[in-house]
Symmetry: C2
Subunit: 309 residues, 2 copies
């Protein structure tokens, strides 16, 4: 099997970093910086402003201010892939330009997701307009395919067309379809030319690496980063399958619990800091019982978050 090594700095495991809020629902920069430092210490990159970051509940100016705060705190931008895709072309351009000039290694870009049944040509014009206007050779775009949430997806023909026109800008994708057949199609069609395919869950990490993928960007990397990063590095080791099974079991212990409040409850629990549980409306924190059961299920796997402070 042919495996292409990525030339990009962002391969590996990244967390869509959860965003802490103060009581008044304003973002808490200090706590975000601390969580980013801990993730980096666990060999985990920073997909800040992803779906699980509640980024779509933040305004453009709030996202820019948070990134400025991270940069000022000297959080490593070479490990950073902020989400910059909005419904509006002008918003996406503004966030993307800001991420690039801040030195971020790449951006994770949702398609415009309000208008539905958009022909592929429309999505192509949207992305090409954005790339032409940002007009910066440093721009590296990771296309974000997450049909369960965005409804609008990234079809293979769109990737092909964008790669043909912008081979050095279109750096890869995150596939959060949860459909391995779609990931496999992307790998088979595009990975050999250096297009980095990230799976959206560590459940598919070993399979992704065996097929030439670049890593994973997974919600649960917020709480279990080192173990996931270990599999990324050791995917060719004899016990890789066993390690994958253990990762998958921990992920499965989330059950039907909603992911974002679950992640925040876990961070709050292991930090002993209840303020971490705050979510911006319309998202709600877990009920007491649901939270207790989640922690008990994780305990049964001897789960821990070492070094968190």
């Amino acid at each position: 099997m042919e495996v292409t090594m990525s030339s990009h700095s962002l391969s590996g495991v990244l967390a869509p970093v959860v965003t802490p809020f103060k009581d008044d629902f304003s973002p808490d920069s200090d706590k975000l910086i601390a969580h980013c430092r801990w993730l980096l210490s666990q060999d985990c990159g920073l997909a800040v402003f992803g779906t699980n970051s509640e980024a779509n509940s933040l305004s453009v100016s709030e996202r820019k201010k948070l990134l400025d705060d991270l940069v000022e705190a000297e959080i490593d931008v070479s490990r950073m892939m902020p989400g910059t895709g909005c419904c509006s072309l002008t918003d996406s351009i503004e966030l993307t330009r800001h991420a690039v000039t801040s030195g971020c290694a790449g951006v994770l870009m949702l398609p415009p997701f309000y208008y539905k049944n958009i022909p592929e040509e429309g999505l192509y014009r949207y992305f090409s307009e954005l790339i032409d206007r940002v007009a910066d050779d440093r721009l590296k775009i990771y296309l974000y395919h997450i049909p369960p949430m965005a409804t609008v997806g990234i079809p293979p023909l769109l990737v092909e067309k964008l790669l043909k026109k912008y081979p050095s800008t279109i750096a890869g994708m995150k596939d959060s379809s949860g459909d391995w057949n779609n990931t496999k199609l992307m790998l088979d069609n595009f990975a050999a030319t250096g297009f980095d395919v990230f799976v959206g869950s560590e459940t598919f990490l070993l399979e992704n690496m065996r097929n030439g993928g670049a890593g994973c960007i997974s919600a649960t990397a917020n709480v279990n980063p080192a173990a996931i990063a270990h599999l990324f590095h050791e995917w060719q080791a004899p016990d890789a399958k066993k390690h994958q099974q253990k990762l998958s079991a921990i992920r499965e212990s989330f059950g039907k619990t909603l992911m974002i409040p679950a992640l925040k409850a876990i961070v709050a629990h292991y930090l002993n800091d209840p303020s971490w549980k705050t979510l911006r409306p319309p998202l709600l924190q877990l009920g007491t019982t649901e939270e207790k059961q989640l922690i008990e299920r994780l305990d049964s796997h001897n789960f821990d978050m070492p070094g968190l402070s």
Copy 2:
């Protein structure tokens, strides 16, 4: 049958006003002002920044600037219901506050539409947080139920709960579900207490008025306002049903043509101004053949846009 007359200034027919763009996809204020003037002259209110306005392709600052331009041009704010609902609470608050301080009679508010499977309690907290923060007695909210586009809807229990807590702020809703049973449920449950139910298409206008509704906010009111407004005023006249059938036939002549590019093509045709056809990506204008066939179908109904200039 008991029919409650609305006490709000916004009852009647409103158009989600299409937004003209320049060649560089920036909004064209002058053309928007002209179209608003024409709509008002045809007895049509202004639901600017709705779905059909491509509002979700505009940034917050672009929407504020356009509204400022309309106000400066002395477009009647008492007939204006701008869309102000975004994914982010902070964006929605900013736009809503701006609309209220600009004197707009009401706002049309989408629920936060990125995160899916939101419990009703989460939506309730989102709206209540917004209302508490805007904290202005002049605020009148029309809830915008459009599941085919937003995916996230406005369930009846949410309306009930919001009406109970904020009876003078929750002024009504626009139901763009296309499901008359849902509209009927809203009318039966809430219209008697002065909650204004607008249907999202003139196809349901007569039925809505017969059941205590407040009017319609319809895409096609951008091009056929006077005839729709006529039915609103004359719904109790003996020939109302015939008039409804004629309106519905014109609407049906759009066929499967996508609504926003179709509206822009029609305005461009009757104004003889091809620049009106420009849409912001990801939306695309109609192909030449599709456009020609649409105009022909409208011609067969002796359709016209009198006074447009």
